[in-house]
Symmetry: C2
Subunit: 468 residues, 2 copies
């Protein structure tokens, strides 16, 4: 139904959980990029041991915010301090609701004094557009949604290409494509480098827990830039692996970013109600899915606040106002705040689940390698005895760690090293097409720090991924 | 190097095995089609229990052969009897070398008295083109190679779309799209049906072991045809599952066709030598790969003859001549001929291999689900004690059978029910990018009939898949 609002759509359901748990949108994929270039095990190994090329052109929305009020507007929408936001910096932009619940996150680049580019999942883009629509800011927004999940042979066009090169050998490639040493830019700072005959912007980044650069430019340059990078790998003898869709999303397990918090937009009145009226029935928030063993009618139980994700230190307390400031002031240091951890899955229990796929009868929920997530937002119960003490929000297998890992939040009193239980699989049948029928399993999980990867902990002690 | 011949390329290698075992072309994929539409377990289940839609538009080469000599030419190139090849029939076209080794296979349709369409892997198309080039036949050939394996957002165009609808509920969809009962066509016969407002050709087929139809037409009609099919599924309430790239290739494990025999073109002089001079260094035969535990310098050890694949009954002995006739006459009934079987992998041994991915040290070769093949042609040793008595040529996991299965050939004296050993993984490191470093494992396999699926055995007793 063209033009239907999310509010209209919701009227057909007992509550938003019912809608999202029965979404038929399928697996939330990393689109367009080939599933594997070599094989996903070697691709994972390469970001730890040699170098990888991530093609991030397709899986994220891009939102351009420009105009005389751009900075003031974004400082109001996001929780982040903007005082130190120079032209050569990027930030991890996080907006929350007036209740202080995380809506999502995007990387934000400042391209000019009056122009910002935001890159990330759709909820933050939608919310930002809504704020521009209801406010009186002098801003112009341009939204380039992520590529089609199943293009089926049709051509895909985007505004920008976006590549990352990571790993211990990445620097050899940078020097080659730049024609000399690359500027020693601090983490999340931006500079310009040469890629063959082109000058491109480069962000110092490190998604897989090893230093690297993210570069971007007009989509029409993509083939040229790619060929320069591959040629440089050849010339330098670096075993650069292009990372396919299957391995890509698992890199976050080692570095500790949770890509998929459920946006806290389903509850609340006033501005929140207005937002749901404004939001289309085809938005991410409407077609996305909730998967996992944690089932509740109260959708707010799936939300997280910025302190829980380790984003507390972003908050620009000195700003006069920003959406959620009052709520966050109250939540700061609250004993109810959970903390972000890594769950290390017990291998025997994982094997028990896999083995059920070789036995008669209804198996446990299949653990698909390397990425078993079957919803755009996952919530698996973490139990201490019978008591729920956390939720697992993003899982995957790491060939580097030889382990199934997941990221999530636990109560403050849970300790590193504690062995708890992850309830794997859903208690009931839903309409989700992304999962086969299954029964539930108990999987022991050991609480580990985040980021899990030793390399990431050591190399990114200053980054947002490690603070809490 | 543009224009380099396969013979030239081969000069850089000790033997063709060395070239193919070190191919860097990556996994041989089912291209363009999304990896999963729902999830691969449910997609596999659907061909057994409801209905599936296979999109076969992209993974096969198409070769059109037309002209006054088309029939005589193809009868000379292939082993098949052509006497009963009416306009309403299709055949499983198999060419062999003068030595009687299988080159490949394609489905061949007769569109007019003087026009045939062949659909399948590239080796048969290449060989057929070569025969046209060196002979004096009045034929014109048009070759439409399969779609790019990793299109990376670029548009794909083909000559024809090609869909199959299979499964116990498929007939409800045919009746709906046809606007009434569909003609009761025998297996591998062709008729016309309506799909909405279009009249399309339909082949009675059954790749997944359940009755179905294959339909095709101009590529520009694809979106329309797809929408009519999906609408029909909705209207009839049939749970039709679109099958993605990950599940697709496993359907053959239940029905018993081996898609990937190594073409027997690497040896022989005379015509064979001329063929390798003619063949380009970018051909399937040159860039394809050999994977598996069976390693030999003598590439002919990987070949199979038509009797071994169960294609003996195709042979048109009454034809005056066809390539390989003399050799096949000698091979007929030879005690050295192996026979096609299904290998049912022992679940404990499979679990042992998987478990090694959760342990320190070098793991066994990863068994990737549902399709662990890591080469365009696979050859894993089948051992009875220390003696090699067969080879496994195509493997995969069947959620329907809750088992890893593979297809291959064994010596004549191996019996159904025998428990032998499959050597899993390669004895050495190669340059193949499709596999991680690994060690070898012994996996017990039980010899089972082909086709393995009970449904397929019962429903297709007359088809080429079940005869031997």
């Amino acid at each position: 139904m063209a033009g239907e609002s999310f509010s209209e759509l919701l009227k057909g359901y007992a509550n938003p959980v019912e809608l999202l748990r029965n979404s038929k949108s399928g697996i939330y994929v990393y689109p367009v990029v080939a599933p594997e270039f070599s094989n996903w095990r070697s691709e994972q190994e390469a970001w730890r041991h040699t170098a990888v090329l991530f093609d991030q052109t397709h899986h994220m929305d891009e939102l351009i915010v420009e105009g005389p009020d751009a900075e003031a507007f974004l400082a109001y929408v996001g929780i982040n301090a903007f005082g130190n936001f120079d032209l050569n910096r990027a930030k991890h932009f996080v907006p929350v609701t007036p209740a202080g619940d995380v809506i999502g996150d995007m990387i934000i680049f400042r391209e000019r004094e009056d122009k910002f580019v935001l890159v990330g999942r759709q909820p933050t883009a939608n919310w930002t557009k809504f704020q521009a629509a209801i406010g009186k800011w002098k801003v112009r927004l341009t939204h380039d949604p992520r590529s089609d999940s199943r293009p089926d042979g049709e051509r895909i066009l985007r505004q920008h290409y976006r590549f990352q090169i990571q790993g211990p050998d990445a620097n050899k490639i940078f020097e080659k494509i730049n024609g000399g040493p690359v500027p020693d830019v601090p983490f999340f700072h931006v500079d310009w480098i040469n890629v063959g005959s082109k000058k491109v912007q480069a962000l110092r980044h490190g998604m897989a827990g090893a230093p690297g650069l993210e570069i971007w430019g007009p989509y029409s340059d993509k083939a040229y830039i790619l060929s320069v990078i591959l040629e440089a790998a050849k010339d330098t003898g670096v075993d650069l692996r292009r990372v396919g869709a299957r391995a890509y999303s698992t890199n976050t397990l080692e570095s500790g970013w949770i890509p998929s918090p459920l946006p806290g937009i389903y509850t609340g009145d006033g501005m929140m109600e207005e937002y749901r009226d404004w939001l289309g029935a085809d938005a991410y928030e409407a077609v996305g899915s909730i998967g996992g063993s944690f089932v509740t009618d109260d959708i707010s139980k799936y939300y997280v606040n910025p302190f829980e994700l380790g984003y507390g230190f972003y908050i620009g307390w000195k700003k006069d106002d920003f959406i959620g400031k009052d709520a966050l002031t109250k939540l700061k240091g609250a004993p109810t705040n959970r903390k972000k951890v890594t769950f290390e899955w017990n291998r025997e229990d994982v094997m028990k689940v896999i083995a059920s796929g070789f036995e008669e009868g209804l198996p446990y929920k299949w653990i698909d390698f390397p990425q078993p997530n079957y919803a755009s937002s996952s919530a698996d119960m973490i139990l201490q005895g019978d008591k729920m003490v956390g939720m697992s929000m993003f899982n995957g297998y790491s060939y580097n760690e030889r382990s199934m890992l997941s990221l999530g939040v636990v109560n403050a009193d849970v300790k590193i090293g504690d062995v708890l239980t992850l309830k794997w699989g859903e208690p009931d049948d839903t309409q989700k097409t992304s999962t086969e029928k299954h029964r539930q399993a108990d999987i022991r999980v050991r609480i580990a720090p985040t980021p899990y990867a030793k390399e990431a902990r050591e190399n990114y002690a200053d980054s947002w991924r490690t603070k809490s």
